[in-house]
Amino acid sequence: MAMNGSRTASLTLAWRFAALRVGNFPVIPTTILVVIVLVAIFAEVLAPYNPEVGVLGQRFRPPFWQVGGTDAHLLGTDHLGRDVLSRLIFGARVSIVVGFTAVIFAGVLGTGLGILSGYLGGWVDQVIMRLTDAWLAIPALTYAIFLAAIVGPSAMNIVIILGLVYWTRYARVIRGEVLSLKERDFVRLAIVAGCSKRTIMRKHILPNVLNSATVLGTLMLGVVIVTEAALSFLGVGVPPPQPAWGLMLADGKKGLMAGYWWLTVLPGCCIMLMVLSANLLGDWLRVKLDPQLRQL
C-alpha cells in the first residue's frame, strides 16, 4: 500500500545515508579537495583576470570588504597590481599538478623499488635499503633545495626533485608489506605452480600492496604540497611569473610590515585547506582500507 511503500522507501534512503556515514567518511575534506581540483581545471574560466599581468595603478588594494577595496578585485591586489583571486585560482593548478604528479612519481618509484627489494632479497635488498637509509637521512627540504639549486627551477624539475626526495618513504613501507606477503600461501602456491618471479611480483604482490601505496599517497600529498610551497617561498620552486601559492607568500612577506595582510593570509589559507583535507582523507583511508596500518 502507498503509505507502507513510501515508508520503506524513506527507510531505505535513510539506511543508505547511514551507510555513507559508516566509517566517518570525511565529506567536507573530500568536497574541498574536489573543489580545488575543479578550480584548477577550470582556472581559465573562473579567474576574472590574467594572473601574470598587473596594473601598476592598482597596487596593494585590500579585499573588497575593507576600506580602499573595490568590487573589481574581490580579494585585493598584490605589489604589481595583479588580482589576488586570479592568482589564487591559477596557483591551485600549480599545487594540484605538481602535488599529484610528484606523489604519483614518488609512489611508482618507491613501490617498484620496494617490491623488488622485498621480494628479491639478497644483495638487491641490501643495496636498495642502504640507499634508502642514506637518502632518508637528508631532511627532505634541504635535499630538495640542494637539487633545485643544481638543476635550476622549473615545474618539471620540481616534480622530479620531489619524486626523488620522497620515494624512500614508500619503499620502506612497501618492502615491509612484501616481506610478510612473501610468506603467504597464495604466493607459495604460485611459486610451486612454476610462475616466474616477474609474474609473481606483477600479478600477486603488486595488487596487494596497492592499498598501502594509495594510503601513503594521500598522506604524502599534504607533505609534498607544503614542501613545494616552501621551495617556492625560498625562490627555488616554480619560477615567476607563474603563480604558485608559496611564491605569493614570498611576495606577501614584503608587504607584511605595512600591514597588507591579505597577501600573506589568503594564500596560506589555501595551502592549509588543501593540506588539511588531504591529511583528513588520508587518515580515513588508512583506517578504512587496512586496519593493520592503523599503527602508522
Partner: protein
C-alpha cells in the same frame, strides 16, 4: 653487544658513504659542474680555469677520491659570498640554530607531553578532542606560514615582539613557536598512543588491582614508561629541527644554518649549499647511530634481536 655496535657502525658508514657519493654525483652529472663551482658573473676564461683547477675532466673515481679526502680534512671549500672557509662559516652559525631548536624543542615537549598524557587519560573526552585538533593543525600548517601570520599579528598589529633578528628572549619566542608547533603535535600524538598502550599493560593493571589511587598509577608507573619512545623521538627530532628550520629562519631572519642555506641558494654560493647538505645529512646519520646504540644499551631485547 659488540657485534651489534660494530654492525650498526658499519651500516652508518655505508650510509655516510652513499650520502657523499650521491651528493657528489648529482653535482657532477647534472649539467656542467664548473658553472656551479665558479663565482657568479665569471667569464668563460674563469670557467675554464676552474675546470683545470678542480680537475673536472679527470675520471670520476679520482675526483671522488679527492672530494672525500678534502672533506675528511675539513676542507669544504670557500664561500663565494663571505670569502671564508665554509666549514668555519657553518660552525659559526650552528650554535644559533641549536639555540632555536632547543627553544622550539622545549616548547614542543612542554606542550606536547602533558597534552598527550591528559588526552590519553581522558580518552575521547573534551581534552582529547581539543588535543586532536591542535595536533591536526600543527601537522598540516606550514611552519613558515605560521611564522608569517605571527609576525603580522604580534609584530605589526600588536607590536609585542620584534619581527626579525636575534639577540634577546623576545626575538626567539615567535620562531620557536612557529618551528615547534609541528613537533609539539607529533610528540603529543606519540605520547598519547604510548600512554594508551602503557595504561593497558599488565603491571598497570596490577597497580590498579593493588588499590593504588589512579593519580599515583599514572604518575609513578605509567608516566616514565610511556615517555621512553617520546624522548627517543625528541632526540632525533632535535637534529631534524636544526635542519628543517630553513624557512622559519628565513622568515625571521634568524642567523642560523638554515638561513645560511637560503643565502647560499640566493647568492649562488654553491660550496655553502653543498656543505650544508653534507653536514646536515651526516649529523642525522650520526645521531641515529648514537640513539640506536643507546637504545641497545638500555633495552637488551634489541641487541639480542638480530
Amino acid at each position: 653487544m659488540k657485534s651489534y655496535i660494530l654492525r650498526r657502525l658499519g651500516y652508518s658508514l655505508i650510509s655516510l658513504l652513499l650520502l657523499s657519493l650521491t651528493i657528489f654525483l648529482f653535482v657532477r652529472v647534472t649539467g656542467d659542474p664548473a658553472v656551479l663551482l665558479v663565482e657568479p658573473g665569471a667569464s668563460k676564461a674563469d670557467v675554464e680555469a676552474i675546470r683545470e683547477q678542480f680537475g673536472l675532466d679527470r675520471p670520476l673515481i679520482v675526483q671522488y677520491g679527492e672530494f672525500m679526502w678534502n672533506i675528511l680534512r675539513g676542507n669544504f671549500g670557500n664561500s663565494f659570498y663571505y670569502r671564508m672557509p665554509v666549514l668555519e662559516l657553518y660552525l659559526s652559525r650552528l650554535p644559533n640554530s641549536l639555540m632555536l631548536a632547543l627553544a622550539a624543542m622545549s616548547f614542543s615537549l612542554l606542550i606536547g607531553i602533558p597534552t598527550g598524557i591528559i588526552a590519553a587519560v581522558r580518552v575521547n573526552q573534551w581534552w582529547d578532542n581539543a588535543g586532536k585538533i591542535f595536533a591536526l593543525l600543527g601537522l598540516s600548517l606550514p611552519s613558515f606560514w605560521v611564522g608569517l601570520v605571527m609576525i603580522l599579528f604580534f609584530s605589526v598589529y600588536l607590536g609585542w615582539f620584534p619581527s626579525s633578528g636575534s639577540g634577546s628572549v623576545l626575538h626567539i619566542i615567535m620562531p620557536a613557536f612557529a618551528l615547534g608547533w609541528y613537533f609539539a603535535a607529533a610528540h603529543m600524538r606519540l605520547t598519547r598512543s604510548s600512554m594508551l598502550e602503557v595504561l593497558g599493560s599488565e603491571y598497570v593493571k596490577l597497580a590498579r588491582l593493588k588499590g593504588l589511587p589512579e593519580a599515583l598509577v599514572i604518575s609513578k608507573h605509567a608516566f616514565k614508561n610511556a615517555l621512553i619512545p617520546v624522548l627517543t623521538l625528541a632526540g632525533i627530532n632535535l637534529v631534524i629541527m636544526v635542519n628543517v628550520a630553513v624557512v622559519v629562519e628565513t622568515v625571521f631572519a634568524w642567523p642560523g644554518i638554515g638561513r645560511l642555506l637560503y643565502e647560499g641558494v640566493s647568492f649562488r654560493d654553491f660550496p655553502v649549499v653543498q656543505a650544508t647538505v653534507l653536514l646536515g645529512g651526516s649529523m642525522i646519520v650520526i645521531v641515529n647511530l648514537v640513539v640506536d646504540i643507546l637504545y641497545a644499551v638500555i633495552d637488551p631485547r634489541i641487541r639480542l634481536e638480530r
